[in-house]
Symmetry: C2
Subunit: 220 residues, 2 copies
Protein backbone atom coordinates (compact mmCIF):
# COMPACT_ATOMS: atom_id res chain seq x y z
CA UNK A 1 0.00 0.00 0.00
CA UNK A 2 1.04 3.63 -0.41
CA UNK A 3 1.78 5.92 2.53
CA UNK A 4 -1.66 7.58 2.30
CA UNK A 5 -3.38 4.23 2.71
CA UNK A 6 -1.06 3.33 5.62
CA UNK A 7 -2.07 6.62 7.22
CA UNK A 8 -5.82 5.94 6.76
CA UNK A 9 -5.46 2.38 8.04
CA UNK A 10 -3.70 3.41 11.27
CA UNK A 11 -4.97 6.94 11.86
CA UNK A 12 -1.38 8.24 11.99
CA UNK A 13 -0.74 11.37 9.87
CA UNK A 14 1.63 11.07 6.89
CA UNK A 15 4.22 13.56 8.24
CA UNK A 16 4.25 11.60 11.53
CA UNK A 17 4.85 8.33 9.66
CA UNK A 18 7.76 9.97 7.83
CA UNK A 19 9.11 11.23 11.15
CA UNK A 20 9.04 7.72 12.62
CA UNK A 21 10.94 6.42 9.57
CA UNK A 22 13.58 9.16 9.96
CA UNK A 23 13.86 8.41 13.70
CA UNK A 24 14.40 4.73 12.97
CA UNK A 25 11.22 3.53 14.69
CA UNK A 26 9.56 2.31 11.49
CA UNK A 27 11.38 0.55 8.61
CA UNK A 28 11.31 2.50 5.35
CA UNK A 29 8.89 1.31 2.69
CA UNK A 30 10.07 -0.68 -0.32
CA UNK A 31 10.86 1.76 -3.14
CA UNK A 32 8.64 1.08 -6.19
CA UNK A 33 9.85 4.17 -8.06
CA UNK A 34 12.33 6.93 -7.16
CA UNK A 35 9.53 8.91 -5.46
CA UNK A 36 7.22 6.21 -4.20
CA UNK A 37 7.44 3.58 -1.50
CA UNK A 38 5.21 0.63 -0.74
CA UNK A 39 4.18 -0.43 2.78
CA UNK A 40 2.74 -3.70 4.05
CA UNK A 41 0.86 -5.20 6.99
CA UNK A 42 4.10 -5.31 8.99
CA UNK A 43 4.17 -1.50 8.85
CA UNK A 44 0.54 -1.30 10.01
CA UNK A 45 1.30 -3.54 12.96
CA UNK A 46 4.50 -1.71 13.86
CA UNK A 47 2.77 1.70 13.69
CA UNK A 48 0.03 0.49 16.04
CA UNK A 49 2.70 -0.82 18.40
CA UNK A 50 4.52 2.54 18.34
CA UNK A 51 1.31 4.47 19.03
CA UNK A 52 0.24 2.12 21.80
CA UNK A 53 3.61 2.51 23.53
CA UNK A 54 3.45 6.30 23.18
CA UNK A 55 -0.22 7.15 23.67
CA UNK A 56 -1.19 4.56 26.25
CA UNK A 57 2.19 3.77 27.77
CA UNK A 58 3.46 7.36 27.75
CA UNK A 59 6.87 6.33 26.35
CA UNK A 60 9.14 8.88 24.69
CA UNK A 61 10.47 8.49 21.14
CA UNK A 62 13.86 7.42 22.50
CA UNK A 63 12.32 4.88 24.90
CA UNK A 64 10.27 3.44 22.03
CA UNK A 65 13.47 3.19 19.97
CA UNK A 66 15.20 1.20 22.75
CA UNK A 67 12.20 -1.07 23.17
CA UNK A 68 11.93 -1.76 19.43
CA UNK A 69 15.66 -2.49 19.26
CA UNK A 70 15.04 -5.26 21.82
CA UNK A 71 11.98 -6.47 19.90
CA UNK A 72 14.06 -6.57 16.70
CA UNK A 73 16.93 -8.61 18.17
CA UNK A 74 15.47 -12.11 18.28
CA UNK A 75 18.89 -13.66 17.62
CA UNK A 76 19.95 -12.83 21.19
CA UNK A 77 19.17 -15.30 23.99
CA UNK A 78 15.57 -14.88 25.11
CA UNK A 79 16.49 -14.17 28.69
CA UNK A 80 18.82 -11.31 27.67
CA UNK A 81 16.29 -9.79 25.27
CA UNK A 82 13.58 -9.89 27.91
CA UNK A 83 15.95 -8.21 30.34
CA UNK A 84 16.86 -5.44 27.87
CA UNK A 85 13.21 -4.85 26.97
CA UNK A 86 12.32 -4.69 30.67
CA UNK A 87 15.14 -2.26 31.34
CA UNK A 88 14.17 0.05 28.46
CA UNK A 89 10.63 0.40 29.79
CA UNK A 90 11.55 0.87 33.44
CA UNK A 91 11.11 4.50 34.48
CA UNK A 92 14.37 6.00 35.70
CA UNK A 93 14.35 8.62 38.39
CA UNK A 94 16.90 11.40 38.34
CA UNK A 95 16.52 12.26 42.01
CA UNK A 96 18.33 10.70 44.95
CA UNK A 97 16.00 11.52 47.82
CA UNK A 98 16.99 11.43 51.45
CA UNK A 99 16.66 8.00 53.01
CA UNK A 100 17.47 6.21 49.74
CA UNK A 101 20.04 3.90 51.34
CA UNK A 102 17.54 2.70 53.93
CA UNK A 103 14.86 2.26 51.24
CA UNK A 104 17.30 0.15 49.20
CA UNK A 105 17.80 -2.13 52.18
CA UNK A 106 13.99 -2.42 52.53
CA UNK A 107 13.70 -3.50 48.89
CA UNK A 108 16.55 -6.00 49.21
CA UNK A 109 14.90 -7.40 52.33
CA UNK A 110 11.55 -7.74 50.52
CA UNK A 111 13.18 -9.54 47.58
CA UNK A 112 14.94 -11.90 49.98
CA UNK A 113 11.75 -12.51 52.01
CA UNK A 114 9.74 -13.31 48.88
CA UNK A 115 12.50 -15.50 47.46
CA UNK A 116 12.50 -13.58 44.19
CA UNK A 117 15.24 -14.44 41.67
CA UNK A 118 16.11 -10.85 40.80
CA UNK A 119 19.33 -8.90 40.59
CA UNK A 120 19.54 -6.41 43.49
CA UNK A 121 20.83 -3.83 40.96
CA UNK A 122 17.81 -4.14 38.66
CA UNK A 123 16.56 -0.65 37.73
CA UNK A 124 13.11 -1.53 39.08
CA UNK A 125 14.57 -2.25 42.50
CA UNK A 126 16.09 1.23 42.41
CA UNK A 127 12.81 2.78 41.16
CA UNK A 128 10.98 1.12 44.02
CA UNK A 129 13.54 2.36 46.55
CA UNK A 130 13.15 5.94 45.25
CA UNK A 131 9.34 5.73 45.63
CA UNK A 132 9.62 4.32 49.16
CA UNK A 133 12.06 7.08 50.12
CA UNK A 134 9.51 9.62 48.83
CA UNK A 135 6.83 8.10 51.09
CA UNK A 136 9.17 8.45 54.02
CA UNK A 137 10.10 12.02 53.04
CA UNK A 138 6.51 13.15 53.50
CA UNK A 139 6.11 11.36 56.81
CA UNK A 140 4.30 8.26 55.53
CA UNK A 141 7.06 5.70 55.94
CA UNK A 142 4.33 3.41 57.31
CA UNK A 143 3.56 2.58 53.66
CA UNK A 144 6.00 -0.30 54.20
CA UNK A 145 3.16 -2.12 55.95
CA UNK A 146 1.36 -2.74 52.64
CA UNK A 147 4.40 -4.06 50.75
CA UNK A 148 3.62 -7.73 51.25
CA UNK A 149 0.03 -7.23 50.09
CA UNK A 150 1.44 -5.53 47.00
CA UNK A 151 3.90 -8.40 46.54
CA UNK A 152 1.09 -10.97 46.72
CA UNK A 153 -0.80 -8.97 44.09
CA UNK A 154 2.28 -8.61 41.87
CA UNK A 155 3.06 -12.31 42.00
CA UNK A 156 -0.50 -13.02 40.86
CA UNK A 157 -0.26 -10.46 38.05
CA UNK A 158 3.19 -11.71 36.95
CA UNK A 159 1.97 -15.31 36.79
CA UNK A 160 -0.99 -14.23 34.63
CA UNK A 161 1.30 -12.07 32.45
CA UNK A 162 3.81 -14.88 31.90
CA UNK A 163 1.07 -17.36 31.00
CA UNK A 164 -0.34 -14.82 28.53
CA UNK A 165 3.10 -14.14 27.04
CA UNK A 166 3.80 -17.87 26.78
CA UNK A 167 0.79 -18.31 24.51
CA UNK A 168 2.95 -16.71 21.81
CA UNK A 169 5.39 -19.42 20.83
CA UNK A 170 7.70 -17.46 18.51
CA UNK A 171 10.58 -15.48 19.94
CA UNK A 172 9.98 -12.13 18.25
CA UNK A 173 6.28 -12.30 19.09
CA UNK A 174 7.34 -13.22 22.62
CA UNK A 175 9.49 -10.13 23.14
CA UNK A 176 6.85 -7.88 21.62
CA UNK A 177 4.31 -9.41 23.99
CA UNK A 178 6.53 -8.75 26.98
CA UNK A 179 6.99 -5.13 26.00
CA UNK A 180 3.35 -4.54 25.14
CA UNK A 181 2.11 -6.49 28.12
CA UNK A 182 4.36 -4.54 30.46
CA UNK A 183 3.65 -1.05 29.12
CA UNK A 184 -0.03 -1.38 28.23
CA UNK A 185 -0.53 -3.76 31.16
CA UNK A 186 0.71 -0.99 33.50
CA UNK A 187 -1.99 1.30 32.08
CA UNK A 188 -4.67 -1.35 32.62
CA UNK A 189 -3.41 -2.07 36.13
CA UNK A 190 -3.28 1.60 37.17
CA UNK A 191 -6.77 2.25 35.81
CA UNK A 192 -8.15 -0.87 37.46
CA UNK A 193 -6.51 -0.04 40.79
CA UNK A 194 -8.35 3.31 40.72
CA UNK A 195 -11.68 1.61 40.00
CA UNK A 196 -11.04 -0.79 42.88
CA UNK A 197 -10.23 2.25 45.07
CA UNK A 198 -13.51 3.90 44.10
CA UNK A 199 -15.36 0.70 44.95
CA UNK A 200 -13.59 0.21 48.29
CA UNK A 201 -13.98 3.89 49.13
CA UNK A 202 -17.68 3.94 48.18
CA UNK A 203 -18.39 0.95 50.39
CA UNK A 204 -16.52 2.52 53.27
CA UNK A 205 -17.30 6.25 53.07
CA UNK A 206 -20.46 6.79 51.02
CA UNK A 207 -22.84 6.65 53.99
CA UNK A 208 -20.68 9.06 55.96
CA UNK A 209 -20.58 11.49 53.04
CA UNK A 210 -24.34 11.35 52.53
CA UNK A 211 -24.81 12.11 56.20
CA UNK A 212 -22.27 14.94 55.90
CA UNK A 213 -19.98 13.36 58.49
CA UNK A 214 -16.32 12.60 57.94
CA UNK A 215 -14.91 9.22 58.91
CA UNK A 216 -12.50 8.60 61.72
CA UNK A 217 -11.84 10.26 65.02
CA UNK A 218 -10.99 13.65 63.47
CA UNK A 219 -14.57 14.04 62.25
CA UNK A 220 -15.81 17.30 60.78
CA UNK B 1 13.29 29.64 58.36
CA UNK B 2 14.51 31.64 55.39
CA UNK B 3 14.20 30.43 51.79
CA UNK B 4 17.86 29.33 51.68
CA UNK B 5 17.32 27.05 54.66
CA UNK B 6 14.10 25.69 53.11
CA UNK B 7 16.12 24.92 49.98
CA UNK B 8 18.85 23.09 51.95
CA UNK B 9 16.28 21.15 53.98
CA UNK B 10 14.40 19.87 50.90
CA UNK B 11 17.08 19.83 48.20
CA UNK B 12 14.89 22.05 46.00
CA UNK B 13 16.71 25.02 44.43
CA UNK B 14 15.65 28.53 45.50
CA UNK B 15 14.48 29.63 42.00
CA UNK B 16 12.37 26.45 41.80
CA UNK B 17 10.78 27.20 45.17
CA UNK B 18 9.93 30.72 43.92
CA UNK B 19 8.49 29.20 40.75
CA UNK B 20 6.22 26.89 42.78
CA UNK B 21 4.99 29.90 44.79
CA UNK B 22 4.23 31.85 41.59
CA UNK B 23 2.42 28.82 40.14
CA UNK B 24 0.29 28.52 43.26
CA UNK B 25 1.62 25.10 44.30
CA UNK B 26 3.30 26.37 47.46
CA UNK B 27 1.87 29.05 49.81
CA UNK B 28 3.99 32.19 50.00
CA UNK B 29 6.11 32.60 53.11
CA UNK B 30 5.10 34.98 55.90
CA UNK B 31 6.67 38.39 55.19
CA UNK B 32 9.02 39.41 58.01
CA UNK B 33 10.32 42.50 56.19
CA UNK B 34 9.51 43.96 52.75
CA UNK B 35 12.21 41.76 51.17
CA UNK B 36 12.22 38.69 53.36
CA UNK B 37 9.79 35.85 53.96
CA UNK B 38 9.76 33.16 56.59
CA UNK B 39 8.89 29.53 55.93
CA UNK B 40 7.91 26.74 58.31
CA UNK B 41 7.63 22.94 58.54
CA UNK B 42 4.39 23.06 56.55
CA UNK B 43 6.40 24.38 53.59
CA UNK B 44 8.98 21.61 53.97
CA UNK B 45 6.26 18.99 53.94
CA UNK B 46 4.42 20.55 51.02
CA UNK B 47 7.63 20.84 48.97
CA UNK B 48 8.40 17.16 49.55
CA UNK B 49 4.85 16.30 48.50
CA UNK B 50 5.20 18.37 45.29
CA UNK B 51 8.54 16.75 44.41
CA UNK B 52 7.24 13.26 45.15
CA UNK B 53 4.24 13.80 42.88
CA UNK B 54 6.47 15.17 40.11
CA UNK B 55 9.66 13.11 40.34
CA UNK B 56 8.24 9.75 41.34
CA UNK B 57 4.67 10.09 40.09
CA UNK B 58 5.58 11.90 36.88
CA UNK B 59 2.79 14.47 37.36
CA UNK B 60 2.89 17.79 35.49
CA UNK B 61 2.76 21.16 37.25
CA UNK B 62 -0.91 21.55 36.31
CA UNK B 63 -1.79 18.05 37.54
CA UNK B 64 -0.02 18.77 40.83
CA UNK B 65 -2.02 22.01 41.11
CA UNK B 66 -5.32 20.11 40.68
CA UNK B 67 -4.29 17.48 43.19
CA UNK B 68 -3.23 20.07 45.79
CA UNK B 69 -6.52 21.95 45.28
CA UNK B 70 -8.31 18.75 46.30
CA UNK B 71 -5.94 18.25 49.24
CA UNK B 72 -6.61 21.84 50.34
CA UNK B 73 -10.43 21.56 50.27
CA UNK B 74 -11.17 19.60 53.44
CA UNK B 75 -14.48 21.42 53.91
CA UNK B 76 -16.00 19.42 51.05
CA UNK B 77 -17.56 16.02 51.78
CA UNK B 78 -14.85 13.37 52.00
CA UNK B 79 -16.31 11.24 49.27
CA UNK B 80 -16.33 14.18 46.81
CA UNK B 81 -12.79 15.26 47.67
CA UNK B 82 -11.52 11.72 47.20
CA UNK B 83 -13.28 11.58 43.84
CA UNK B 84 -11.75 14.89 42.70
CA UNK B 85 -8.28 13.85 43.85
CA UNK B 86 -8.67 10.53 42.04
CA UNK B 87 -9.80 12.25 38.88
CA UNK B 88 -6.92 14.73 38.89
CA UNK B 89 -4.37 11.92 39.03
CA UNK B 90 -6.00 9.68 36.43
CA UNK B 91 -4.07 9.81 33.16
CA UNK B 92 -6.28 11.03 30.34
CA UNK B 93 -5.70 9.72 26.85
CA UNK B 94 -6.23 12.03 23.88
CA UNK B 95 -6.60 9.20 21.39
CA UNK B 96 -9.79 7.36 20.48
CA UNK B 97 -8.43 4.12 19.04
CA UNK B 98 -10.38 1.74 16.87
CA UNK B 99 -12.43 -0.76 18.85
CA UNK B 100 -12.97 1.67 21.74
CA UNK B 101 -16.73 1.03 21.92
CA UNK B 102 -16.21 -2.70 22.27
CA UNK B 103 -13.49 -2.14 24.88
CA UNK B 104 -15.87 0.08 26.86
CA UNK B 105 -18.40 -2.76 26.92
CA UNK B 106 -15.66 -5.11 28.14
CA UNK B 107 -14.86 -2.74 31.01
CA UNK B 108 -18.54 -2.29 31.92
CA UNK B 109 -18.96 -6.07 31.89
CA UNK B 110 -15.92 -6.51 34.18
CA UNK B 111 -17.24 -3.91 36.63
CA UNK B 112 -20.64 -5.64 36.66
CA UNK B 113 -19.08 -9.08 37.06
CA UNK B 114 -16.92 -7.94 39.98
CA UNK B 115 -19.83 -6.08 41.61
CA UNK B 116 -17.77 -2.89 41.84
CA UNK B 117 -19.58 0.27 42.98
CA UNK B 118 -18.12 2.57 40.34
CA UNK B 119 -19.55 5.04 37.89
CA UNK B 120 -19.30 3.65 34.33
CA UNK B 121 -18.18 7.15 33.23
CA UNK B 122 -15.24 7.28 35.65
CA UNK B 123 -12.10 8.48 33.81
CA UNK B 124 -10.27 5.31 34.87
CA UNK B 125 -12.89 3.16 33.16
CA UNK B 126 -12.20 5.13 29.98
CA UNK B 127 -8.41 4.90 30.45
CA UNK B 128 -8.75 1.15 30.82
CA UNK B 129 -10.90 0.90 27.69
CA UNK B 130 -8.30 2.85 25.69
CA UNK B 131 -5.54 0.49 26.85
CA UNK B 132 -7.61 -2.60 26.01
CA UNK B 133 -8.38 -1.19 22.55
CA UNK B 134 -4.63 -0.69 22.04
CA UNK B 135 -4.01 -4.37 22.88
CA UNK B 136 -6.62 -5.35 20.32
CA UNK B 137 -5.16 -2.95 17.72
CA UNK B 138 -1.87 -4.83 17.74
CA UNK B 139 -3.55 -8.20 17.52
CA UNK B 140 -3.32 -9.14 21.21
CA UNK B 141 -6.99 -8.86 22.14
CA UNK B 142 -6.47 -12.09 24.08
CA UNK B 143 -5.15 -9.90 26.91
CA UNK B 144 -8.77 -9.95 28.12
CA UNK B 145 -8.04 -13.42 29.51
CA UNK B 146 -5.91 -11.96 32.32
CA UNK B 147 -8.39 -9.29 33.42
CA UNK B 148 -9.89 -11.25 36.27
CA UNK B 149 -6.43 -12.08 37.64
CA UNK B 150 -5.66 -8.36 37.50
CA UNK B 151 -8.97 -7.61 39.21
CA UNK B 152 -8.19 -10.07 42.03
CA UNK B 153 -4.82 -8.36 42.46
CA UNK B 154 -6.35 -4.86 42.38
CA UNK B 155 -8.97 -5.74 44.98
CA UNK B 156 -6.18 -6.95 47.25
CA UNK B 157 -4.12 -3.79 46.65
CA UNK B 158 -7.14 -1.50 47.14
CA UNK B 159 -8.03 -3.16 50.44
CA UNK B 160 -4.45 -2.68 51.67
CA UNK B 161 -4.43 0.93 50.42
CA UNK B 162 -7.71 1.81 52.13
CA UNK B 163 -6.58 0.28 55.42
CA UNK B 164 -3.34 2.28 55.18
CA UNK B 165 -5.22 5.50 54.33
CA UNK B 166 -7.65 4.88 57.19
CA UNK B 167 -4.78 4.93 59.68
CA UNK B 168 -4.77 8.71 59.18
CA UNK B 169 -7.83 9.91 61.08
CA UNK B 170 -7.89 13.56 60.03
CA UNK B 171 -9.61 14.60 56.84
CA UNK B 172 -6.84 16.67 55.25
CA UNK B 173 -4.28 14.03 56.09
CA UNK B 174 -6.71 11.51 54.62
CA UNK B 175 -6.93 13.23 51.24
CA UNK B 176 -3.18 13.74 51.10
CA UNK B 177 -2.73 10.04 51.85
CA UNK B 178 -5.08 9.07 49.04
CA UNK B 179 -3.22 11.24 46.57
CA UNK B 180 0.23 10.17 47.70
CA UNK B 181 -0.78 6.56 48.05
CA UNK B 182 -2.25 6.52 44.57
CA UNK B 183 0.57 8.31 42.75
CA UNK B 184 3.58 6.96 44.64
CA UNK B 185 1.79 3.64 45.10
CA UNK B 186 1.54 3.33 41.31
CA UNK B 187 5.31 3.76 41.09
CA UNK B 188 5.87 1.07 43.74
CA UNK B 189 3.40 -1.26 42.05
CA UNK B 190 4.90 -0.83 38.56
CA UNK B 191 8.42 -1.39 39.87
CA UNK B 192 7.35 -4.42 41.89
CA UNK B 193 5.45 -5.91 38.96
CA UNK B 194 8.69 -5.78 36.94
CA UNK B 195 10.65 -7.48 39.71
CA UNK B 196 7.97 -10.18 39.87
CA UNK B 197 8.24 -10.49 36.07
CA UNK B 198 11.99 -10.95 36.32
CA UNK B 199 11.50 -13.61 38.96
CA UNK B 200 8.80 -15.47 37.03
CA UNK B 201 10.78 -15.16 33.80
CA UNK B 202 14.02 -16.33 35.42
CA UNK B 203 12.32 -19.41 36.84
CA UNK B 204 10.79 -20.19 33.47
CA UNK B 205 13.43 -19.27 30.90
CA UNK B 206 16.83 -19.14 32.58
CA UNK B 207 17.69 -22.77 31.90
CA UNK B 208 16.67 -22.42 28.25
CA UNK B 209 18.83 -19.33 27.87
CA UNK B 210 21.85 -20.96 29.50
CA UNK B 211 21.51 -23.84 27.06
CA UNK B 212 21.17 -21.34 24.21
CA UNK B 213 17.75 -22.69 23.25
CA UNK B 214 14.62 -20.57 22.85
CA UNK B 215 11.46 -21.56 24.69
CA UNK B 216 8.27 -22.74 23.10
CA UNK B 217 7.33 -24.72 20.03
CA UNK B 218 8.55 -22.06 17.58
CA UNK B 219 12.15 -22.42 18.68
CA UNK B 220 14.59 -20.26 16.85
Amino acid sequence: MRIGELSRETGVAVPTIKYYVREGLLPAGRLTSPNQASYDDGHVRRLRLIRGLMDVGGLSVSAVREVLAAVDSPERPVHKVLGAAQEAITPKSAVAPEGLEEARRTVAELVRRRGWHTDPDHPSAEAMAVALAAFRGIGRGDFLEVLDDYADACERVAAADLAWVGRNAEVDGLVESVVVGTVLGDAVLMAMRRLAHVDASARRYEKDAEGGAAPGAGGR
